[in-house]
């Protein structure tokens, strides 16, 4: 087996993925001695007018006898969320703001087997694999104690899972042995709620509780066409955007009024 060569392929699932095009692919291998390869079918997801989410498949080869963990995530960021609590023992209200630091906006973990069974705890913490490791990784302010911290972290996960931004699966990576190599493949749903940005799919090859190799593939999500034009205008030319919105609304209201008069519907 050649040490440095990595086979990279792009699979276009256009039949299943309407409206989405692929421009190219960037694959990185973290370990020069790696036997592991990874490729994502989409490295460039375009958000156009008819975008309703997508799918991202990751495939590649690894050493036989290794387990695999695939993590799709965005860079760590900051999120401020309103927390709801009971006021006067009766009414649910916003009682404060919780700040979450070092949290990715997207966190999607897939593994061949249960993570606790194939990866030891230190390794999980080191690579931030799995919710317990993520909990250890994030900072939550303000919380009084660890149990409160744990409660709000779990609420955070529920919040993220409710919009499909955080997902986990076990055993959904399919593996086959061919020519002494193990091929793997997984098809994941890419949520339309995921905002434009750069995302990273990292594949961990795991043996005896340890990560022995990693391979990465970038996924870029970008707005194009009218979507990009409108989003840019809303952000950068607020006054003009507001005036156009108002003018369109006024003329639509007036236009429909005229149509109804002409149609005689109003009389």
């Amino acid at each position: 087996m050649k040490i440095l060569s990595k086979i990279i392929m792009v699979i276009l699932n256009l039949a299943a993925l309407p409206g989405i095009f692929i421009l190219g692919l960037l694959i990185f291998t973290a370990n020069a001695n790696a036997e592991l390869t990874a490729k994502a079918n989409h490295d460039h997801i375009k958000i156009d007018f008819f975008y309703h989410g997508s799918t991202v498949s990751v495939r590649g080869t690894s050493d036989p006898g290794t387990d695999l963990i695939i993590k799709i995530t965005s860079a760590d960021g900051h999120e401020s969320l309103k927390q709801k609590g009971k006021v006067g023992g009766l009414l649910w209200m916003n009682t404060g703001t919780l700040n979450f630091e070092h949290v990715p906006n997207i966190y999607s973990i897939h593994s061949t087997k249960k993570i606790q069974d194939i990866l030891n705890q230190e390794e999980a913490l080191k690579y931030v694999i799995g919710y317990p490791a993520l909990e250890n990784h994030v900072e939550i302010e303000p919380v009084e104690n660890d149990s409160e911290r744990d409660t709000w972290f779990k609420e955070f996960i529920r919040f993220k899972e409710s919009s499909n931004l955080y997902t986990t699966s076990e055993g959904k990576i399919s593996t086959t042995l061919k020519d002494g190599r193990q091929s793997y493949y997984i098809l994941t749903t890419w949520p339309y709620q995921a905002p434009p940005g750069d995302y990273l799919a990292t594949v961990y090859s795991v043996k005896d509780g340890k990560v022995i190799e990693t391979a990465e593939s970038k996924v870029k999500v970008e707005q194009v066409g009218i979507v990009s034009l409108l989003a840019g205008m809303a952000k950068n030319k607020g006054a003009l955007y507001g005036l156009i919105s108002i003018l369109v609304a006024l003329s639509a209201g007036f236009g429909v009024g005229l149509i109804f008069r002409k149609g005689g519907g109003a009389h």
Binding site: W92, S162, A266
Partner: protein, 308 residues
Amino acid sequence: MNYMYLYLPVALTSINIMIPVGLGLLVGLLSGLFGVGGGFLLTPLLIMFGIPSTVAAATDSNQIVAASTSGTYAHWKVGNVDFKMGLYLLIGGFIGGLGGVQLIKVLKATGNADFVIKMTYVLMLGIVGTYMLVESLNSVKKNKTAEVRTEKETALTRFLKTLPLQTHFEKSGVTHSLLLPVIFGGFVGVLAAIMGVGGGFLMVPVMVYILRMPMHVVVGTSLFQILFNCIEVTFLQAYTNHSVDFILAVLLLVGSTVGAQVGAVFGRKLKGEQLKIILAVIVLAVTVKIVFDLTLTPSLLLTHGGGH
């Protein structure tokens, strides 16, 4: 390609186009019928369908511009808009809105904003809904028995007549001090700014019960002043918060402009008292819904900031 879904560039989410068009039709109908913007109904529904709360509120204002233009036009055609009264209400509303925004800042500084906002909302909706329901049911009964509808010379009306700047509002057939619509417009403006809503459901009862305007003129005049309020709010939201979603607004207004026309036509077939009863029931239903939201454990204990 699935043409049922469109991507919303500011809300950053995808939505089935039938949802905003259908919701637009519904609130447009309410607009044309009752002269309310329907924000108290539409904004929470949009949030329910995954639109971030700030975008939902801002886009709703943009949509109301279209619905109220359509509705004002329909009511104006049959002479049911009192532009003079609308203008004075607008002046008051504008001043009140400025005051309300300052009040919110003070409340936020004390940390009690959310509680005060929610309580104001529930109390206002509850009081207005109950009063309208009881009053209009009573007058329906009275009309059936004796057709008595006397202008009661209460202490309040006597006092109102002593105010300066008395003027006749021809369209509404009432004589009031100019100060009256300005003051009560201002009062609604303060409350609307606190609650983050247009305030149509407050303005309608003010016009009916305090300004004593006929219900059909109330609806048209309310839409007229809502139109100008929402133009202002849309611009400010787009300019300062960048939270107006143009695509979502267009989808909503496709439904709401048509709904407003249908509502205006349908409203003419109903009596003023019937309109008041239906509006009162809707307002009370929303009150009950908010009370449930406040008392039942929410499914998620964390939410995006910005909304109420």
